[in-house]
């Protein structure tokens, strides 16, 4: 049950305020923090191994620190960092759910972490079996026929998929030059389309927050290679006319691409393959709990329907009786998008998560992610503008334009004020079609008490915007540093330490 409502007081995350000097300014000349053996092979002058003309002119000016200096340094930095293990991250479109500890234990076993990518297949049967099973799991969850794990992240997956689509059309003797994205799309969608050599056409959204079907039909020509759609979209709304959209796209022979960033909302409820998508990427670091690592590594698997299978990157993982093998003999493949087989360590974590959850657990995750979001939406809608008033999926988008227009308090100000209350801020100013957007995604792993505390903080900030706007405008106040000067940072970039 929700606790009795007490007006919350700012309680910033317990981050260290003391500045930390850069590692280069610690230590002393001649100090060391490493332990390595002396050479055990016969001594030879270095010149006989590598001629002086090919050796370094000047040693790299690396730190000269003890092991304890290193430990203190990174421990101090870790105390100045917010994380999921510290608190709530209501970041829309990022699915910052809890990262299970067992995933780490499984991934860090020597039998997983100490495998060389080129060791013989016979010595890596467990790894290949895991990948083969994970491919089948993701194919089942998504309704796709096959999955590649080579992409390192979502955007990398987008590019991989678009190159496959390009090759598919070339194979059919069709020249298609254009990719369509809705105006609510993630920035990576148009960027990936451009990098894959396509022109980008943007289509507007309708008043219910769906892609505008008439506007879409108007741009669908035989030049169009694909529509890239996020579903639920970045407003947190399910594309209600998805079947009509799929039909329209397929009618001109184009491919329907799913940006799977928001897959968490529909696990076990509806499958992209059944909705008519031809190809999709998964963000295993969102939906399938692999940790975000402060910005990466991710893992961006791509699933395809049968007609795109010949174009998958090499190698694929095949089962030959009881044996698992890497198959490079795929003449229509787009080739490789990175070395080796993908971010294997993260694939192991995603596999572990799926095995923990099972089919019922995954569905329950989606249901609770959606219930949590609708609960928060219901409790926050009176305090902020709600541009699209519908049942949401795993996330929803509010607007801070009321606070901006009446009190000259921006969404950025309120996001910064949330830091004082001990929360990470939601995603802000995205999607671009909502003014002063505040995009909130609770995920299923947060408790009712956490949701209520966040709601109370958001309510308190809406109140502050009216009664004490200056404290919001000048926020944050309780954090290790106050607002940073982005303008000077970009105008006169200091991007490295110099001796």
């Amino acid at each position: 049950m929700s606790a009795p409502v007490r007006p919350p007081r700012p309680a910033a995350p317990p981050l260290a305020r003391r500045p930390v000097p850069v590692i280069f300014e610690r230590g002393a000349p001649g100090r060391v923090g490493y332990s390595l053996p002396q050479s055990d092979v016969p001594d030879v002058p270095l010149d006989a191994i590598i001629p002086a003309a090919q050796r370094r002119l000047r040693p790299a000016a690396l730190p000269e620190v003890s092991e304890l200096d290193v430990v203190r340094h990174y421990t101090a930095l870790s105390h100045r960092n917010y994380s999921i293990d510290e608190g709530f991250y209501p970041l829309g479109s990022c699915t910052m759910k809890y990262n299970p500890k067992i995933n780490e234990d499984v991934a860090r076993q020597p039998g997983i972490a100490r495998l060389h990518p080129y060791q013989p297949e016979e010595l890596a049967q467990g790894a290949l079996q895991l990948l083969w099973e994970l491919e089948h799991d993701l194919a089942e969850i998504s309704g796709m026929d096959r999955v590649t794990f080579q992409p390192a992240a979502g955007a990398h997956g987008e590019m991989t998929a678009l190159l496959m689509i390009r090759r598919y059309f070339e194979d059919r003797g069709e020249r298609r030059t254009t990719v369509v994205v809705p105006d609510s799309a993630h920035g990576t969608n148009p960027a990936s389309a451009a990098i894959a050599g396509f022109q980008v056409i943007e289509v507007k959204s309708d008043r219910r927050g769906n892609i505008d079907l008439e506007a879409l039909r108007a741009v669908l020509t035989p030049e169009v290679a694909a529509l890239m759609l996020t579903n639920p979209n970045t407003l947190g709304l399910f594309e209600e006319q998805i079947r009509e959209v799929a039909r329209a796209v397929h009618n001109v022979g184009a491919q329907l691409y799913l940006d799977g960033a928001n897959f968490n909302a529909i696990l076990g409820i509806t499958r992209p393959g059944d909705q008519g998508f031809d190809v999709m990427h998964f963000n295993l670091h969102k939906t399938f709990t692999t940790p975000h690592g402060g910005g990466g590594p991710g893992a961006g698997a791509v699933g395809v329907r049968a007609h795109l299978v010949p174009y998958l990157p090499v190698p694929t993982i095949e089962r030959d009786g009881q044996r698992f093998v890497l198959d490079y003999d795929r003449p229509k493949s787009i080739g490789k998008v990175r070395a080796f087989y993908g971010n294997f360590g993260n694939l192991v974590r995603a596999y572990t998560y799926i095995r923990s959850m099972g089919a019922a657990g995954l569905r329950e995750a989606a249901e609770m992610a959606v219930l949590n979001a609708n609960y928060m939406l219901r409790r926050l809608r009176d305090h902020y503008d709600l541009p699209y008033d519908r049942v949401c999926k795993h996330e929803f988008v509010l607007s801070g334009r009321r606070q901006r227009d009446r009190h000259h308090v921006t969404t950025k100000d309120m996001a910064k004020r949330l830091l004082d209350y001990g929360f990470h801020s939601p995603t802000i100013y995205f999607p671009l079609i909502v003014e002063e957007a505040i995009m909130i995604e609770p995920t299923e792993t947060e408790s009712l008490q956490t949701l209520d505390a966040f709601i109370d903080a958001m309510t308190a900030i809406a109140q502050e915007a009216e009664t004490n706007p200056e404290i919001v405008r000048s926020a944050p106040h309780e954090t290790p540093v106050t607002r940073l000067d982005d303008v000077t940072a970009a105008r006169k970039p200091i991007l490295r330490w110099r001796p």
Partner: protein, 447 residues
């Protein structure tokens, strides 16, 4: 379900507040025809003890490099990882953090990445490095489009001594653009500057080399830089084994314009090929064309120093279809690993480990080359890898060595049919003289 905290009573309360009767009502906007009718067909859920046992069984079907003496490199290197790396870089405060968009509560991450950028600059002798790319291969692909954009030229020359998978990725990244990629031969194991000069022209954007190259050989960086620069092209240097930079000439010291590389060797586990660490560094003049995130130093409203993501107008979330790259999520944690690794080894340790690699590999190279039937394929100086021609198919040698728990080198035939009798052997600091002598002894009995 331990990852879903809501109790039945809490669910009821939330449904009531939300104003719906059942969770199903929240999915009414999904057309009935596309909804699943039954549960997904997945293996049953496992409890934690069952799952750990299952994972141990899977891991047990692998043979890992703790169980073998590894002489395999070729872009992934078995180096010693100091205990500081897992204990610091993998702390949950770093592991479970998101991209540091809210700088005020992410100073730890931002400073760590700023320091990583600085360490990369020192190691490569370049002006500026980004916060990371996916891996060495894709970073090299990005460098090609960066060079084409900077020079407005359509041709890329790449040495065949660049890692074959990097070249495959380079082709995937460019095949659909108006960019042609042409191979430069390396018949003596290194890129021939004279051949490079003949291929060079005013429409070439970049010459891409790797040093130490895929064969372990050191390239003539200065001469190749001159060849590129004389015709206004950029020199791109890929570094697959960054430990080498503790000893060999750094790309910035011989005129590289863009340095890419694979940072796995800097404290990252082998991990069956990933996650690894894409590196990219360049000269100050090109900073606004760099792909990916950059951390810069600035001050807060009180004048205190602090760090932010900067120059973001290059990036996809601002510039969308006109961004320098589509990269968003990168490999920050692997960059942090590299930073802890380089800090721990420090100025002396990086030289020490590089020398150990070079000395041990040199010893092994001499011993194997002295065996009857074996000979060095190339004469050029090498760092920690070298190519030998073998009297038996290298695949066969590897099979026999495995019986003695030795993981042999890479048979080159899979990438270079003309080198089917060649074997790429790697010796890092983790190999002992005893292991090298055992390897040599077994080769002798095979011969």
């Amino acid at each position: 379900m331990k990852y879903i905290p809501a109790t039945p009573a809490e669910r009821e309360h939330m449904l009531r507040v939300t104003g719906v009767r059942a969770v199903d009502d929240l999915f009414a906007d999904i057309p009935r025809e596309v909804r699943l009718r039954g549960p997904l067909d997945l293996p049953p859920a496992m409890s934690d003890p069952e799952l750990l046992a299952h994972a141990r069984r899977l891991a047990g079907r692998n043979t890992d490099c703790d169980q073998l003496a590894c002489f395999l490199g070729a872009g992934a290197y078995d180096h010693f990882i100091p205990s500081t790396v897992p204990h610091l870089a993998l702390k949950p405060e770093f592991l479970t953090a998101y991209t540091p968009y809210q700088a005020e509560i992410m100073q730890g991450e931002l400073q760590a990445i700023f320091e990583y950028q600085s360490l990369m600059c020192e190691l490569t002798a370049m002006d500026v490095a980004n916060a990371s790319m996916y891996d060495g291969a894709s970073a090299t692909g990005e460098a090609a489009s960066m060079a084409a954009d900077l020079t407005k030229r359509p041709r890329i020359l790449v040495s065949t001594a660049v890692h074959p998978e990097y070249r495959q990725v380079l082709r995937t990244f460019t095949s659909h653009l108006r960019l042609t990629v042409e191979d430069l031969p390396a018949p003596a194991g290194i890129t021939d500057p004279a051949a490079a000069e003949r291929a060079m022209a005013d429409d070439v954007a970049a010459l891409i080399i790797q040093s130490p190259n895929f064969f372990g050989c050191l390239e003539h960086g200065e001469a190749l830089a001159r060849v590129a620069h004389d015709r206004g092209a950029l020199l791109v240097v890929a570094i697959a084994e960054p430990i080498s930079l503790g000893l060999v000439r750094a790309p910035g010291e011989y005129g590289a314009d863009i340095v890419t590389g694979e940072g796995q060797a800097l404290g990252n586990a082998l991990n069956f090929g990933g996650p690894y660490l894409g590196m990219i560094a360049t000269r100050d003049a090109f900073v606004r064309r760099l792909p990916g995130r950059l951390v810069g130093r600035t001050v807060d409203t009180e004048g205190r120093p602090g760090y932010v993501l900067t120059l973001q107008t290059r990036e996809q979330h601002i510039r969308r279809a006109r961004a320098t790259s589509n990269i968003c999520t990168n490999e920050s944690l692997n960059a942090l690993v590299a930073a802890v690794y380089l800090s721990t080894l420090g100025r002396a340790g990086v030289q020490h480990v590089a020398e150990l690699n070079a000395r041990k590999a040199h010893y092994a190279r001499g011993r194997i080359a002295a065996l009857r039937g074996y000979q060095l394929a190339f004469a050029a100086p090498t760092f920690n890898e070298f190519v030998v021609r073998c009297p038996l198919p290298p695949e066969e040698i590897n099979r026999r060595l495995l019986e003695h728990r030795i993981l042999g080198g890479l048979p080159l035939g899979r990438f270079y049919p003309e080198l089917a009798d060649c074997w790429l052997v790697c010796v890092t600091e983790t190999r002992t003289r005893d292991e090298i002598d055992r390897l040599v002894g077994y080769l002798e009995t095979l011969g």
